[in-house]
Symmetry: C2
Subunit: 306 residues, 2 copies
């Protein structure tokens, strides 16, 4: 699905937020972890099975509240091949639940290597007479340090198969500026990356005025977020840094256009670890996540008109 | 293993080259592909099994000739979870064959996410009382667009577990310069990234004067390669772009220091696809790869004293 579909899902749910599925062993309710370790021992497979059960529970409740989820590949790769299988199953489960699925993989490469990543996450794998999906996502995150050679192969598959990507423009971390804030000519590197992607995707502008290449722009730099919104009028923003990383709904508001669209705000830990605050040992992890996701929706909508 | 171990392996083999294991369906000798498709049908698993058999054959002969291999994750992710399992098995098989193993994954992230990648590829995964390796590599490639927050978590694991990473500084592709050649102050972004990693790793300088953070610098920009060698005296170089991408042994020579060390040159397609030129339908893929690897060794050593 494209950015247009994402915008429509945001409107349906009246909620411009995306939940990051970032499991870690200590984020899994103890009863789930115990069950799988009893069944398969202290193995990578047991943890991977626990991650998948946790994700399915979260997706079941979140698919009623949010338009999208963003599973973070690193936490699944941490468990080796069984973890990657749980990642693939999570992407498919989220997609089957009607969510827009952003695989947060931050892949980057050139030529046939970038093509392989594109087909793996956004396109199809051809085997003899058969075509299959390797990883079932609508969109992935991409790092653009390699320039347009590292973006075009992804964009081609997006156009062919109606998908989108989000390119890292200004990240939410403290040292983001070391490279992204360097000034070349009159502009910062981050702005130049933003202009590069807006230009590359110019012929993919959809029904709401946004192209197939979105930008990752952190909520932790609110002034820059507003500046980016002005300079990159056709680029949809994926905004990390809300909640646990310190960004507020007011900070994130600058990511939206005058119509109240053009961005989606990510929260992870606050939602998926909400069970840790209720004193029920994780047995209520679904309800706790749903409550927190609704709280975030309220905070976001109070600062916006969606 | 660290950069010191890599340098020692280069000296043992008298060969500063690394072979990229970049399989694609059409790179696999037809008799291998046929066998696995007959056994498991037109499935991702059949292709993954074929990739692994091809890699093992290559590793068996190459481990006598080269010090290192660099398996490219994208081509395995292309096959979904079964491909990632073949990737993990390939890394382990190469390591068990005594090779220095560089997982070309170009990962990048911050905080606990970067830690997850670090432990997955360079460290250990903890499950209850047990520690396991998820992916068995000595080194990985890393994209540094996120700044030092995106490098430190990897460096910490390198120090703890005696590993190394290679950070993308100047890539070998045509559009590399769009971001990497932007001039900020008096220096190009690529040089500033190089200086950043040399500074971050300053306290990890090993027996040969090189730190635990190497740099990826393409052979396709020979003048810059020489300039980088002068400016980054403590940074070991991984040099792509030789052979199929147009870089020659003479171009790559600028990556080495006065002692003839300090770099390793990558070749992929020319070696792993050498069987396509012998007219024997791939039955001689091992011998053809060995011949081509020896030819590259000769070309490299003619331009260097190793």
């Amino acid at each position: 699905m494209s950015i247009d579909n994402l915008i429509e899902k945001i409107r349906e749910k009246q909620n411009p937020s995306v939940i990051g599925l970032d499991p870690r062993p200590d984020y899994i309710p103890p009863y789930i972890l115990r069950k799988h370790i009893e069944h398969k021992g202290e193995t990578l497979q047991a943890l991977a099975d626990a991650y998948f059960e946790f994700n399915c529970g979260l997706i079941d409740v979140l698919s009623e509240i949010v338009p999208a989820v963003k599973p973070q590949s690193a936490f699944f790769e941490y468990l080796g091949p069984p973890g990657v299988e749980a990642y693939a199953k999570t992407l498919s489960y989220a997609k089957d639940s009607g969510l827009y699925v952003i695989a947060d993989v931050k892949r980057n490469d050139i030529g046939s290597t970038a093509e392989a990543y594109s087909e793996a996450y956004l396109g199809n794998v051809k085997i003899g007479s058969i075509e299959k999906r390797a990883f079932d996502s609508d969109s992935i995150t991409v790092n653009a340090y390699l320039g347009s050679d590292g973006i075009r192969p992804f964009l081609e598959v997006c156009k062919r198969d109606d998908r989108s990507i989000f390119v890292l423009v200004k990240t939410s971390n403290k040292s983001a500026g070391e490279i992204q804030d360097l000034t070349a000519g009159k502009e910062k590197v981050s702005i130049l990356v933003g202009k590069l992607i807006e230009e590359l995707a110019a012929d993919t502008t959809g029904a709401y005025g946004y192209t197939r290449i979105g930008a990752v722009v952190g909520a932790t730099y609110p002034e820059e977020l507003r500046e980016m919104r002005k300079k990159l009028k056709k680029t949809f923003f994926l905004v990390p840094g809300y909640g646990a990383q310190g960004g507020t709904a007011k900070d994130a508001a600058g990511a939206f256009d005058d119509r109240g669209i053009g961005a989606i705000i990510n929260s992870s830990r606050a939602v998926i670890c909400a069970w840790m605050k209720t004193g029920r040992n994780g047995e209520d992890f679904r309800e706790a996540a749903a409550d927190e996701a609704l709280k975030m929706k309220d905070e976001m909508t109070r600062h916006l008109s969606v």
